[in-house]
Structure formats: C-alpha cells, structure tokens
Symmetry: C2
Subunit: 464 residues, 2 copies
C-alpha cells in the first residue's frame, strides 16, 4: 500500500510511523490509534487516484480534514487516513453572485479572511474555526453560533465535488439557488461523514457583511423568560437575531476559574446568562442618527429595557465597543476548553423543539442526579436553535455510558435529537442504533451498500 | 389487483373505468393515459397496506396528490395510481414552535387558511396553490414566488413520514431545526417524485405573518438594471424582498389579450416588467408614522425614486391598497393560463446564476431564432432566483425537441440547470440523461435499486 501510494502522491506526501502522530488522536484525546499511513493528496485528481487504488485493493480509507471533530469520526487505528489538509485553495470568489468555490482543506477562518475584502461574510462560525476545515464542516453538516440566522452547513452549500468509493469524481458544483435535477445527492453527501464519498470542493453561499452588530450579555429570569425574549427580539428586528447562546451560572464559574483573564459578566452570579447578537446591513439600522445612536443598538437596548421592566431580564450589558463584543464572544467560544479536561466526561449534543427546552432541562437533570447523585453537570448551547451541549461529569467513569443513554433518551422523548450538529462518528453510533427509526437505519445501510459496495469508506462509523 | 385493493381500502376507494378520468391526463393535457385503477387511501396505514400488497405482487405504483405537475410525473397509463387526495388532515399546529404537521393530501391554499388565524404563514405560494397538495410540493421540491426570502420546499420541511416500497413506514417527523442523525434521508425523499417512497405527512415551518407589504410593478431599463435594483433593495431592506418576478413586454401583451379584465401596468409597453414585493414584521417597518406613511412602503418608494433618477427604472407603480396588490399578483399568477394553449409548445424551467441571466437570455433567444426563424417565445420567471420559464412556440411541432435541447444546453453552458423547480418527471428525462453528471446518474440508479429493488415506484420517471 505504502509503495503504491508513494507512486501516486510522491514520497513526501505519504506519512508513516511517528509522522502520523497528529492523526493518531482526536481533539478530545478520547479516541486514540495510530493509522498505518496518512496520504496527503494535493488535488481532486490525487484523491481520485488514491480511491481507485483503494477500491481495487480493498484498502479501508478514513478521510480527515481539520481533525477537530468531537465524535471520533476521523480516527483509523492501523488503517489508511486520507488527509485533505494540502487542498487549501480558494478557487474563486464571485462577489456579484455572492459565491465562493473552495477546496475541502481550506481552514474556516482562512475563508472568513479571504471573503472579507469583498465586504462579504461566510457566516459559519464556531470555536474551532481556526483549525477546522471546510471538508469536515461539510462531512458533519456542522452548525455553530449563527445557525439561527443563516442555517447549518446544508443551508450554506450550493454545490459539491466528491470522489466516490471507486475513485470516480462526481461534480455537482452548482452555484444555483434552485436546481431540481433528480435525487438530492448534494445533501446526501453533506453530513455523511465520509461514508459515501470524499467531498473535495464546494460552492458556498456568501452574504453581505453586517454593517452593525448589537451585542449583549443578558441575565434572564429563567429559560422560559429567555425564550420569550428571543421571540420579542426576532419580531422587533424582523429576524435579525444572529446568535442567542446560553451559559448557565456554572459555566461562568468554570470560565472564570479556568481561563486566564476571564471575568464575570455581572456583579452577581445569575443562572441564565445569554449572549445575544443582532446584525444588520441596511442603513436604516446601521447608520448612526444625529444623536450618535445606531438604530440597531437602540432597538436592542429598548427591548432589553422593556424586558427588564417586565421581569424577563434581571440584568444586561450591551457591548459599547468591538473589544467588548469580542470579549463576550470569547467567553462563549471558550466552551471546548472549559468543558473538556482530565476528568471523566459525558459530552452530548442534543436538540429539542424550542418550546420544550425548559421542561427537558428540568427532567434530564433530575434523572441524571437520581442515577448518579455525585454527578456534576455543565450546559452551554445554542438556545435559539434548541441545541444544548449538556455535559455530565459522573462520579465514576463506569456510570458514563448509562448517563449518556439517559440524556439521549430524554431528548428523544421530548421530540428531540441525540445529535444536533456534531454528527455520529463512533460516539453516537450506539444512540443511533437504539433511537433512530429502524426503517431509516435500513435505508442508510442500503444506500451505503449501493454507493460503497466494498465498505471501504470510513468503515465502522456513522452507518449502523 | 382490484379485488385486493377493495379488500384493503373498501370498494368506494378503488376507482376504475371512467371514474379514473381525472387521473387520465395531466394539467397541461400533454400527458394522457387512463390508469388501470386509482387507489385512494385514507391514512398512512392504508398507504402502507397498499404498498405491501404492491410489493408482494409486483404492481407498479404511481403516487399522485394534486395532479398539477407540469412534467408528466403523475401519469400511469394502464397501471395503478395511488392518490393521496383523501389524506387532507392538518394534524397539528403549534404556534409557539411555529410548526404545522400535515398530511400529504392537504391543499396548499387550505394550509394557508389553517395557519392564518394564528398570525402565521406557510410561505410557499404559486399559481396552482388552490389545487396543488403538500405531497406533490414535497415530491417535486416545489419553488414558487417567495423562494427569494423563504427558500424552496426543502428549506420549509423539518420532518417527513414516508411509506417505503415494501410498505414499511419511515418516520422522520422531526420538528427540530438541527438534527444530524445520520444520512439525510429527509432531503433524499424530498424531490424524489415518488421514486423512492411515498411521503404521507410532513412537519412544516411556519413564519410570522408580515404586518406590512410594499408591492410595486416596475419597468426596468434592462435585465442588468433589474438585477442592480434587486441588490439595492436587498441591501436597503436587509433582505426583506419576498418576490422579484419578471414579465417581459410579450407576457403583458398576451395577458391583456387572453385574460378578461386584464390591464396594462403602464401607459407605454415596456420590455422588462417586474413584480416586486417586500414584507416585514417589525414595528419599525410596519407601523405608520405621524405622516401616515408606512416605513416599508416609504423605503420602497425612495429606492424606486432613486433608481428612476439613476436610469435603472423607467416607470413604477406602488400598490396603494390590498386590491391593487392582488391585481399585480393576479397578473403574475396567470402565467400558466397565459403560457399553455392549443399551439405546440416547448415549456422550460431553467435557472442560471444571477450574474449570468442577461447574457444567457440574449444568447438563447439568438440560438432559438437561428434554428427556427418562425418561432415565438415567451418568458416569465422568478428573476430573483435566476429561475426563468422560457417558453418557445415553434413554427412547427417537429422542431420542438431540438429547441428544448438548445434551451437546456445553453442554460447548462452558463452554469445553469435544465430543471429549477418543476422536477424531472417524463419531460426532463432526456435532458437529465444528456446533461447530468454521469457519476451522479449512476448514484441515482444505485440508490433507486437499493430502496426500491423491484422498481415498482413511479417507474420510468425521474431516474435515468
């Protein structure tokens, strides 16, 4: 295998032994295992040639781009990893059409930088954006903090190019907003975690850069009050809410304790802290008036003032500078560092319908504590999407698997999901088997067998 | 077959002979052929039982809901049609979560009516909404006139329930905005035109009803000028443009000639007529000021005034009443009546990237006239989506097939699509074979074989 790969890619682009160390563990450190080799193709043609050889020889191939996933989906002990990290070309930016064509190895933050000079944004944003790459974002249908306004990855991808299991290239690089030419293979590939093919490039939607943001940290009276505030803000701003993030008191406590320079948002500790951000493009919202006030900020201040009077809100700080805004975001984006540590952990990624969030939170905490009275928990989440990362630190590691089941089962009981934005990988495969509609599981297996009959693409993950 | 169906559904729900007449032709009258029988199940269980029998006996089944499709996708000469028209229950409306759960046979306009008392809208709207049903909307991933703001069907469907080829029910009735639990079977079923399963119910997104609309008919100086106006309006209103529809001079001419009571929009005939609509929820846009002006209408008037001064616009009328607004919409929604008639016709449904629309239109008209100098053409379309229904009336019917190829090929040359919102059915199958990526065609066939191994679902359509 090594020699064939070297012949295809050149010797420097096939790593073995200790050179594979960066691919021998995932970001969380929970999934470990050195691959037999790491192939680093530089082009779609390279990927195609590697897959043709893999198909001919029955090599099992796990594609990786930024290796920032949290579910063990990119780990391949003793097998072949195909890393897309060399494919980092932004092929084209078309400002008039508001699209960018990028390769799968482009780092998310680099794409943000590349489109900024055009006055445009690619709105996907999350904590790992400095190392996460477009390929992984697409493979997991990543979410993040701006889904409320712009949608998850699927809503942002107009076209894809993918190498199939047999090495053939499927080009669906449309820049169209409407394209109904047969089965929706684009969305089938998005979120398939490398199990059906390897996405090598994509056409992405761009948006005009908001000319003003209004950002606040808010202490709400309760989760119910927070959700009422969200509806008020959405209706008052015509859907300009870009982020509505939830950090409970314990999150603030951990942040202050663990991150150098971190500060309390308020004089008093509150239980329901929100990061709220509105964004706007139109001059009526963004141009400062004769009194120097930006209408969007004034709108946020007025809404928060009214909510304070009505008892929905207990305290609030509106960012008065970009530095203050960044500080508010850094608190939220530190979540992975705050959450993951040496202690045993049950990290989850659940979602429930918005109107059921408060009841769900109450019940799941009760159930977890009834099972493990010594457990501690930590929540952070995209409240505006009903997507919560509810983490439990069990009193003993052996209790972890059952606690995970309790959380996942309770979410599904409330009409929710056990995987909102991180995907399946290895860690959610048990939940998928237990909780996903069995007819859907059969359909997934049938499609996998149809498109990857030898079962060589990211084997053992995603598909039950 | 008839007896078995009668045993499952009851005799009145199995139609034969002349009773099948409504299903023996499509809306255009282009596709004809009486089915052997029409089965009218009243529930998901009924559909399941019919499909289990069909699977056991190898009956070929074509599902139909409103029968308003334009591509012959719902015609089944001598075979079995499964009509969902009895399944017209709105199962649930949850205003707080802004979702509705509906059966596939619900008429689109009936759904509009059912959610209105809650101050909500289901934003899909098109000419056939008085008879089109949710099942067909989902099966074709229908578009319509509000895609610019709210997206096509895929963007509006949170969950589906479908009966698979073997009769098993796949329940993916999520009301979640984020749900990453394995392969995207929901989007695979949407737009699959009954070839992979029969959608029996769906969970749909609802939106707050705009409290104000600002609607205008505009004569733009050119297509380029129209697109520049669109960008201005989007940026000035922060994306509040709900419709941006194009009607050339010949469309106006045909409308006045064919529809009783139809009137010219302007004193002079213009070449690029637009129906423009903005909608808003927020009081800052919708609450009339002390001068009685609604800010949203004022914004539209100011933008149109500036565009008139800059030469982008030649004339414009802003609707000053709901009656005037309805009149503007009736002109646009009459397109099917205006387009289809006794003469030979090549109707198309193409899209191109927005920035290429003017060049595309110029070239395609040149090419069609070079091939058939006696041809006449007619355009109407969702300009804001780059989606044009470019219709050609050839001088002789025999020239039709080649003209269709010229139009489709030219669209694809411009990075466009030969099927933007109507789907494939029978009429686009040739274009699909000729123009769709061959690897994607193979993937479609493999998925079809995996999910419908006996090939009994809507055979001969959609899948190449």
């Amino acid at each position: 295998m090594i020699e064939q790969l070297q012949a295809i890619l050149g010797t420097p682009n096939v790593l073995t032994g200790t050179d594979t160390a960066p691919w021998a563990r995932d970001w969380t450190g929970k999934y470990l295992g050195a691959p037999a080799a790491v192939a680093r193709p530089g082009s779609t043609e390279d990927v195609s040639a590697v897959m043709a050889a893999a198909h001919a020889n029955g090599w099992r191939v796990t594609p990786v781009s930024g290796n920032t996933g949290l579910n063990g989906g990119a780990i391949a002990p003793g097998e072949l990893i195909l890393s897309l990290d060399r494919m980092r070309t932004v092929r084209d930016i078309r400002p008039a059409a508001r699209v960018a064509e990028v390769e799968a190895g482009v780092v998310l933050a680099d794409l943000h930088g590349a489109v900024a000079p055009h006055g445009l944004i690619f709105p996907m944003t999350f904590g790992a954006q400095g190392s996460a790459r477009i390929g992984g974002m697409i493979a997991t249908n990543a979410g993040g903090s701006n889904v409320l306004r712009y949608g998850s990855t699927r809503a942002l991808v107009l076209g894809i190019e993918a190498v199939m299991a047999d090495g053939r290239v499927m080009s669906l690089m449309s820049a169209l907003h409407k394209d109904n030419t047969g089965l929706d293979l684009k969305n089938l590939m998005i979120g398939s975690e490398g199990a059906l093919g390897i996405v090598t490039a994509a056409t992405l939607k761009l948006f005009p850069k908001p000319q003003a943001y209004a950002t606040a940290t808010v202490a709400a009276a309760s989760l119910e009050a927070a959700l009422a505030l969200l509806t008020r803000l959405q209706d008052a701003s015509d859907g300009a809410v870009e982020a509505f993030e939830y950090m409970p008191g314990r999150y603030i406590e951990r942040h202050v304790a663990r991150v150098a320079g971190a500060r309390e948002p308020f004089d008093t500790r509150h239980e329901v802290n929100l990061l709220v951000e509105l964004g706007a493009v139109a001059p009526r919202d963004t141009a400062a008036g004769p009194d120097g006030r930006v209408p969007l900020s004034a709108l946020l201040e007025e809404q928060l003032g009214a909510a304070l009077e009505d008892g929905l809100v207990q305290d609030a700080v509106v960012a008065s500078s970009e530095a203050q805004r960044r500080q508010m975001w850094e608190r939220r984006e530190a979540s992975a560092e705050i959450t993951f540590g040496p202690e045993p952990i049950v990290d989850t990624d659940i979602s429930v319908p918005l109107d059921r969030v408060p009841d769900f939170m109450g019940l799941v905490q009760t159930r977890v504590l009834a099972f493990d009275p010594g457990a501690r928990d930590l929540v952070v989440g995209h409240l505006g999407d009903g997507n919560l990362h509810y983490t439990v630190y069990p009193s003993d590691e052996s209790l972890g698997p059952r606690i995970r089941e309790i959380v996942d089962d309770t979410a599904v009981e409330f009409g929710g999901s056990f995987s909102a934005e991180h995907g399946i990988g290895l860690s959610k495969l048990g939940a998928l088997r237990r909780l996903k509609d069995p007819v859907a599981q059969d359909a997934m297996r049938a499609i996998k067998a149809a498109l990857d009959p030898k079962g060589i693409l990211n084997p053992g993950k995603t598909i039950p």
